[in-house]
């Protein structure tokens, strides 16, 4: 009987580069920037690291995982590159966590990086998705695939288009407000509801402010087993309470019944993660979330998929401020993908970085004052109909 990963992995140190249009730097430098913070936080020598997992979804640093070892001058340790679309960061963390949980390593690390702003594109760069996919799929972009959530959500729950548009705008206004307090965030300027609602359309009904930043950045997590962390003198320990991934088997796009109003993989991963963490009432037990708000509508339906809002109620809960910084369950307290930014390979680790800081009371001006309990991160790779969803839950002790 599998025993899961709860309480088997401690986060020893974390680091995160400044996210944004980092015209000043390249992939390897971003790797170093995140790693140096993490290793200093961990308080160990880099030579003690026994394995590394490298999350990189694009092609900005060269092939394979070797660029990670090269940038950090880590000689002769195993490094593994992982890629799972926008969920790449959490995938890297999973590799490192499993390595220490299994006892194969005492110290392992995960590092995700993306250097998107040498592509020349305003949004995510285009590219082939494989010959058969290219031959038969619609002419889609990421915002277009997620925008359809709005059409499905509205058809199912029947609110006025303007009401949903305002709820989506509120999601982004909230994240912009949160990011003003985050010195590492990409977008730190507040916006108004009017700006969000009236912005040019990117993919109907998503406007410019419904879409997350396209950013450069890196994030790093160094993990070990809790007993080793304690032996190193760490008194306040953050451990992984659950780490669950769910990939679609193709039912959404090919089967019958899915109405594009929710993301089934999120529901599956959340149910397993709650079981693993021992959470019976997520709306009560989870105090903070970092979710995959690639687009405002994604965050909105994710509140329902995570069980933090009732089905069909998230748009009202959002407008009521339930997920604002001073709300019942703050979401994207660091600005989220929307404003902290979305360097793809780094994002999943960046989410855990924020939850880790918040649990340890080290989040500075944006520190949540209440007792957080469990902090959840939700990292989605792919489109709503074709994705892998990763959920990591962390807590103290």
């Amino acid at each position: 009987m599998a025993s899961g990963i709860r309480d088997k992995v401690a986060i020893l140190g974390m680091g995160c580069s400044r996210f944004g249009e980092r015209w000043d730097t390249d992939g390897p430098s971003l790797i170093v920037e995140a790693f140096q913070e993490a290793i200093a936080d961990a308080g160990i020598d880099p030579g003690e690291l026994q394995a590394g997992w490298f999350g990189h979804a694009g092609n900005a640093v060269g092939p394979g995982a070797v660029p990670l070892a090269l940038a950090l001058r880590l000689h002769n340790i195993p490094v593994t590159r992982v890629e799972n679309a926008c969920a790449t960061g959490t995938e890297a963390l999973r590799g490192a966590a499993y390595a220490v949980a299994s006892g194969a390593c005492d110290f392992a690390f995960a590092l995700g990086v993306e250097k998107l702003k040498d592509s020349g594109y305003g949004g995510l760069p285009g590219g082939s998705r494989g010959p058969f996919y290219d031959a038969t799929n619609a002419n889609m972009t990421a915002p277009g695939t997620f925008a359809q959530l709005a059409s499905g959500y509205r058809a199912r729950h029947g609110m006025a288009a303007d009401d949903l548009k305002r709820a989506m705008a509120h999601v982004s206004v909230k994240s912009h407000a949160n990011a003003t307090l985050n010195p590492k965030a990409h977008l730190r300027t507040p916006i108004t509801m009017e700006q969000a609602v009236n912005a040019p359309l990117v993919a109907a009904p998503l406007g410019l402010f419904d879409c997350c930043g396209v950013s450069d950045g890196a994030a790093c997590a160094i993990v070990t087993r809790p007993e080793i962390a304690r032996a190193l003198g760490k008194k306040d320990i953050v451990t992984i309470k659950a780490l669950q991934l769910a990939a679609t088997g193709g039912w959404e796009a090919q089967g019958a019944g899915w109405d594009y109003s929710y993301v089934p993989t999120t529901r599956a991963a959340a149910a397993r993660a709650y079981r693993e963490a021992g959470i019976s009432d997520p709306a009560r037990d989870i105090g903070l979330t970092e979710v995959h708000d690639c687009f405002s509508i994604t965050e909105l339906v994710t509140m329902e998929d995570l069980g933090l809002s009732k089905d069909g109620a998230a748009w009202r809960d959002v407008l009521d401020g339930r997920f604002d910084a001073d709300g019942q369950i703050p979401c994207q307290i660091d600005g989220g993908l929307k404003c902290f930014g979305h360097p793809i390979g780094a994002t999943g680790i960046r989410m855990v970085y924020e939850n880790y800081l918040q649990l340890l009371g080290r989040a500075g001006e944006r520190q949540v004052s209440k007792d957080i309990g469990f902090a959840l991160s939700h990292n989605l790779g792919g489109a709503p109909f074709h994705n892998i969803c990763s959920i990591a839950i962390v807590g103290r002790g």
Partner: protein
């Protein structure tokens, strides 16, 4: 053996360009164009070409059953998209005809449609069934008369043994190297000689001679002709010709010039399809094709034609229209004007021929799979069915989806994706009877669709790569009263 025309169909693209739009934009340069500024012409969408229009005409022509009887598929045009890759062979895949079909492209003259019809009628006598399609999307320079006169369309006829809707009375051809127009193999636009010479020495002389000869051969008098189907790029010639031949003025088929334009190789067959929709038993049709000589066919309508309707009537297709008033968009769609398309248009996606061959039914034929064990329909088919059947391998049977109505399940209008006609509109569509796919939408009157709205599938160009390879696939268009197709 009874033989003749067994079925007919036509296809008109949705867009119509009022000729005045061209005149307004260009008559400062060529004042003579103002004189042609009457009526409107049909305009193919950016994702339509000769091949896609031919396929749609064939789909409108094909009877619900009987594809198995088709022995050959002939595609007639001088604007075929591929010079070396058989265009009729692509149409055959889209129409799901047998791999043993004899497919053939015929080209080289504006009368290739009528020449193809004569050959098909001859083959019918020997027991062979031919699906003949003629289509044209002809390019013309900006500020040319041809740009105003041309129209884009396709037409198709099923010809073979069986009870015909119209039977051949007599056909004759004349071949003379009369160069009213030409286009070199590597050229984009036609070059035309003086109209008055074409009219007098071509239409009035050559056509008059051959029609007279053919009527004589058939033992018919000119006044017995009920429908004279002869329209040229020169409006008004047909009436003069009828008078010269002694054919009743009322027998001259209604010109398509004001509503469609002159559709090149497709035109005689388009006129024939439009005429058969309202012709009655016993009527005599005189069908003329002109181009380096001419073809004349005398056909007699049979009782089988009465009450017969194609899947999408010509009149309904005339009614399905979206008026194009933007001259630069028309030029861009027809490749006569270069736009700065942005970085996303630089993406060059190849279609590997090895993959296209392996998956030709799935891609070109829109064939999905139906699980033998569960009955669940899916697109595309896969080794293991999407719905639970203990993951048995290889339970999928071919399940064609192209002729099935579908419902919109999700929608977006994407302004970020590169499209020649932004926004790029797409969403999940679910077929009646099962199966769903993420489809591009095209021919939308406005860039919006409601969840639940009915759509049907059409064969369209998806993209052209930097090597000129044209990749075709299926897209969804809204179902309207004018284009409702039969359901299997």
């Amino acid at each position: 053996m009874m033989a003749g025309i067994l079925s007919y169909g036509s296809y008109l693209p949705m867009r119509r360009l009022p000729r005045q739009v061209i005149a307004d934009a260009t008559s400062w340069f060529n004042g003579a164009l103002s004189g042609l500024g009457r009526g409107e012409r049909s305009v193919a969408n950016w994702d339509e070409d000769t091949l896609t229009m031919a396929v749609e005409a064939c789909r409108n022509c094909l009877p619900e059953a009987g594809r198995d009887a088709i022995g050959q598929l002939v595609l007639a045009s001088t604007t075929l998209p591929f010079a070396d890759r058989q265009n009729a062979g692509i149409a055959k895949e889209a129409l799901l005809l047998s791999d043993r079909t004899h497919t053939l492209d015929i080209t080289g003259s504006q009368r290739v449609g009528t020449s193809g019809l004569i050959a098909a009628l001859e083959a019918a006598v020997s027991g062979k069934t031919t699906l003949l399609a003629a289509a044209d999307r002809r390019h013309a320079s900006a500020a040319s008369a041809a740009q105003m006169i041309n129209g884009d369309a396709g037409a198709a006829l099923l010809v073979g043994p069986g009870e015909p809707l119209a039977e051949l009375v007599c056909a004759r051809s004349m071949s003379v190297d009369f160069v009213d127009r030409f286009r070199a193999s590597d050229a984009r636009h036609d070059y035309e000689w003086e109209g008055r010479w074409i009219r007098e020495e071509g239409y009035m002389s050559l056509v008059t001679q051959l029609v007279t000869e053919t009527l004589g051969e058939a033992g018919l008098r000119a006044e017995e002709v009920d429908h004279l189907l002869f329209e040229t790029p020169m409006p008004g010639v047909e009436a003069r010709l009828a008078k010269a031949l002694g054919i009743r003025a009322g027998a001259v088929a209604r010109p398509l010039f004001l509503e469609v334009g002159y559709t090149g190789c497709a035109h005689p067959l388009l006129q024939l399809a439009a005429t058969l929709e309202r012709a009655t038993a016993g009527e005599v049709i005189c069908l003329v094709g002109f181009g380096q000589g001419c073809d004349v066919l005398l056909l007699r309508v049979t009782a089988a034609n009465d009450g017969r309707k194609p899947a999408a009537r010509f009149q309904d297709q005339l009614a399905r229209r979206k008026v194009e008033t933007n001259y630069t968009r028309f030029l861009y769609f027809s490749g006569e004007l270069e736009f700065e398309e942005g970085m996303r248009a630089e993406l060059d996606i190849k279609t590997p021929p090895s993959m296209l061959y392996r998956d030709r039914k799935t891609i070109l034929g829109l064939v999905g799979g139906k699980c033998r064990e569960t009955g669940v329909v899916q697109y595309p088919r896969s080794d293991v069915s999407v719905a639970g059947n203990a993951r048995t391998r290889g339970t999928q049977e071919d399940y064609p989806l192209a002729d099935r109505i579908a419902r919109v399940r999700s929608f977006t209008a994407d302004y970020l994706a590169y499209s020649p006609d932004p926004p790029s509109c797409y969403g999940i569509v679910e077929f009646e009877g099962g199966g769903r796919m993420i489809a591009d939408f095209t021919d939308l009157p406005e860039p919006s669709l409601e969840v639940g709205q009915a759509v049907r599938m059409v064969f369209r160009l998806k993209r052209t790569d930097q090597r000129g390879f044209r990749h075709y696939f299926w897209k969804a268009v809204p179902v309207t009263d004018q284009n409702t197709r039969r359901q299997d």
